[in-house]
């Protein structure tokens, strides 16, 4: 059973350390013959993906944090502080989880390219701000989009968590003189840490592995994220360079793999804590 769950990674790894010219495609889960071992695919993959990796990080980190934070705020605003109508609003959040991305691609393109003047704004201020590149406008658009689409599930997860927090504790804080904002900052936020682990891991993987929104919003160019680069790497009309492709896939998957290996446990605990 364990083997069954692990073998794809092993297969990818074995393929990725095979010299492309010696690659035959049969029994790829066996290690290559010693003479055919090569790290070339990995170095090539890292070279080819470096820009995409950098862009992905620029995208994923803020989008993950923002969606987590906003989700937590929404959950707090809709749970710990009680008021009329919150259930209706919350239902809208929940339904938002189940929207297939395909269903919104057209409007999203129209919105980012034709409705908001984000591009011209960024292009005009970019020269004045260090590190800000003109193409970053696409990443900003994508960050906002992923944030918006991540909020519903984050809200759901956080709300479940907050409902388990003791009402008495929040009341104690109110008696202690803390305002709603202070209660959030000093009580709720620190106590959300386990849930943030879950939400961050979930969002990190989802956003990191997403291709559809990236294709729709970034489309191509300097701002391409790693999944976009991954689609085409190693594929050309004369054939597919599988070792390079697998190496690239592993390089691209490395952040999420590491996240799961090191924090998967927190994820598992938080999911159902």
């Amino acid at each position: 059973m364990i083997v069954f769950y692990l073998i794809p990674i092993e297969t990818g790894l074995m393929t990725a350390i095979t010299d492309p010219s010696a690659y035959t495609g049969s029994a790829p889960y066996l290690p290559p013959a010693p003479g055919d071992v090569s790290l070339g695919p990995f170095t090539n993959a890292v070279d080819a993906l470096s820009q995409g990796l950098a862009n992905s990080f620029i995208l994923v980190v803020p989008a993950t944090i923002l969606s987590g934070l906003l989700g937590s705020m929404a959950a707090y605003g809709l749970t710990t502080v009680d008021w009329k109508g919150q259930i209706g609003i919350y239902m809208l959040f929940v339904a938002g989880i189940f929207i297939p991305y395909q269903a919104v691609l057209v409007p999203l393109t129209q919105f980012w390219y034709n409705v908001v003047p984000l591009r011209t704004t960024v292009e005009s201020v970019a020269p004045m701000i260090p590190l800000l590149q003109e193409f970053h406008w696409k990443l900003i658009a994508l960050i906002v989009t992923h944030t918006a689409y991540g909020i519903p599930i984050c809200t759901l997860l956080f709300r479940a968590h907050y409902k388990k927090l003791s009402d008495e504790m929040v009341e104690a804080a109110r008696l202690d003189g803390a305002s709603i904002t202070r209660i959030y900052r000093r009580i709720i936020l620190p106590l959300s840490v386990p849930m943030f682990a879950v939400v961050f891991i979930y969002q990190f993987t989802q956003i990191w592995n997403d291709l559809l929104f990236a294709l729709t919003i970034i489309q191509f160019g300097d701002a391409s994220v790693v999944t976009q680069d991954l689609v085409s790497i190693g594929v050309s009309q004369e054939g597919t360079n599988f070792p390079l492709r697998m190496a690239a896939a592993l390089v691209a998957a490395l952040p999420t793999l590491l996240v799961y290996i090191f924090f998967g446990d927190k994820f598992a605990k938080g999911v159902t804590a």
């Binding site: 059973m1 364990i2 769950y5 692990l6 073998i7 794809p8 990674i9 297969t11 990818g12 049969s26 906003l70 705020m73 929404a74 707090y76 605003g77 809709l78 502080v81 009680d82 008021w83 009329k84 919350y90 809208l92 959040f93 929940v94 339904a95 938002g96 189940f98 929207i99 297939p100 991305y101 395909q102 269903a103 919104v104 691609l105 057209v106 409007p107 919105f111 918006a148 599930i153 809200t155 759901l156 409902k163 709603i180 904002t181 559809l212 991954l230 689609v231 599988f242 697998m246 896939a249 998957a253 999420t256 793999l257 996240v259 799961y260 998967g264 446990d265 598992a268 999911v271 159902t272």
Partner: protein, 331 residues
């Protein structure tokens, strides 16, 4: 231990405070409304974002599905009709093209089968794994991580991997079948098996999630229930079947929600596995058909209407969930 009923009461009642006090304690009302206004900074920005991007986009998409938009120029919003939906259900040649259009029945059927099979098997497998891991507390964390690992991989890797697995000559699936004396079978392009093969791969990727949720669910059941059932004379299987599994309803529902979200990602997998959005009629789903129509054929409006159908289907799965959560005061 907090009684869920108390929580519910509190939930219901605190929101009721403002109403209760109506005219009698006007200052109290303002105190509470001050609370709800003060809470606005927390929920309003996320709500606006979601409202604009998620619901705005969906509404826009719905309007688009009523047009004849074919990708170029601006959609004509002045001329809205349900023609696309008629075509989607009946097929035929719509007014905006010379070619006949496939209805969505085949893809709908595949989508439903895929979603249902995926969800059910994921849950069943997840449950089985959870029960197994539950017995062996020692390496639990390692097991959990391993079962979750496939979730972190991109489809580029897993699609290729499953092609290997299903290989007629060297694939492990066929080798395993061979060990049981079954001849190798064609899987990837076998019309009878390919949808199952896709579902299976997705199950492999996401059953770890179900496992994690179930494991926590199992842990939440007091050990005295296991023991009571044993003292009552139930065999292990009967004990799980009659006493333990029925208590995992909440876990099942919460896993199901996320699994439905995952099942919407089947598109990405099919796309990688069959090298495009044309996986063949036996594995065609609404998502592939939608992208094929919109991006392949430039039938944008028609694609939008398929997307709307897909969304409504997802909603049909989820609405009962939301409703029951609401009824139980879990919202």
């Amino acid at each position: 231990m907090r009684n869920p009923l108390t929580v519910l009461k509190r939930l219901v009642s605190d929101s009721g405070d403002a109403r209760t006090d109506g005219g009698t304690a006007s200052s109290g009302t303002s105190l509470l409304s001050r609370d709800s206004i003060r809470s606005a900074p927390f929920w309003l920005p996320p709500f606006l974002l979601v409202g604009l991007f998620v619901y705005g986009a969906i509404l826009w998409n719905v309007v688009l599905s009523l047009t004849d938009f074919q990708g170029l120029g601006d959609p004509n919003y002045g001329d809205l009709d349900f023609e696309n939906y008629v075509v989607a259900f009946d097929g035929g040649t719509p007014s905006w093209t010379d070619y006949s259009i496939d209805p969505i029945w085949n893809a709908t059927q595949n989508t439903v089968v895929l979603m249902v099979a995926f969800a059910i098997v994921c849950l069943a497998l997840g449950l089985l794994l959870a029960i197994l891991v539950d017995q062996q507390i020692r390496f639990e964390n390692t097991f959990r991580t391993i079962y979750l690992l496939p979730m972190s991989l991109s489809f580029v890797v897993t699609a290729k991997f499953w092609l290997y697995m299903y290989d007629y000559n060297t694939g492990l699936v066929n080798i395993a079948l061979g060990a049981f004396g079954f001849g190798p079978i064609e899987i990837v392009q076998n019309p009878d098996l390919k949808l199952a093969a896709v579902a299976f791969a997705l199950i492999w990727q996401y059953s770890g999630y179900a496992m994690v949720v179930y494991l926590a669910g199992l842990r939440a059941i007091p050990s005295s229930h296991f023991e009571a059932a044993r003292v009552d004379g139930a065999s292990t299987i009967r004990m799980y079947w009659r006493v333990i599994i029925p208590q995992l309803r909440t876990a099942t529902v919460s896993a199901l929600v996320v699994l439905v979200v995952f099942s919407l990602k089947a598109f990405d997998f099919l796309f990688s596995m069959y090298g495009g959005y044309n996986p063949g009629p036996s594995a065609d789903i609404l998502a592939t058909q939608m992208v094929r129509e919109a991006y392949g054929n430039q039938n944008w409006a028609y694609g939008s209407s398929i997307a709307v159908v897909l969304f409504l289907m997802a909603l049909a799965v989820v609405a009962p969930y939301i409703y029951s959560q609401y009824r139980q005061g879990q919202l």
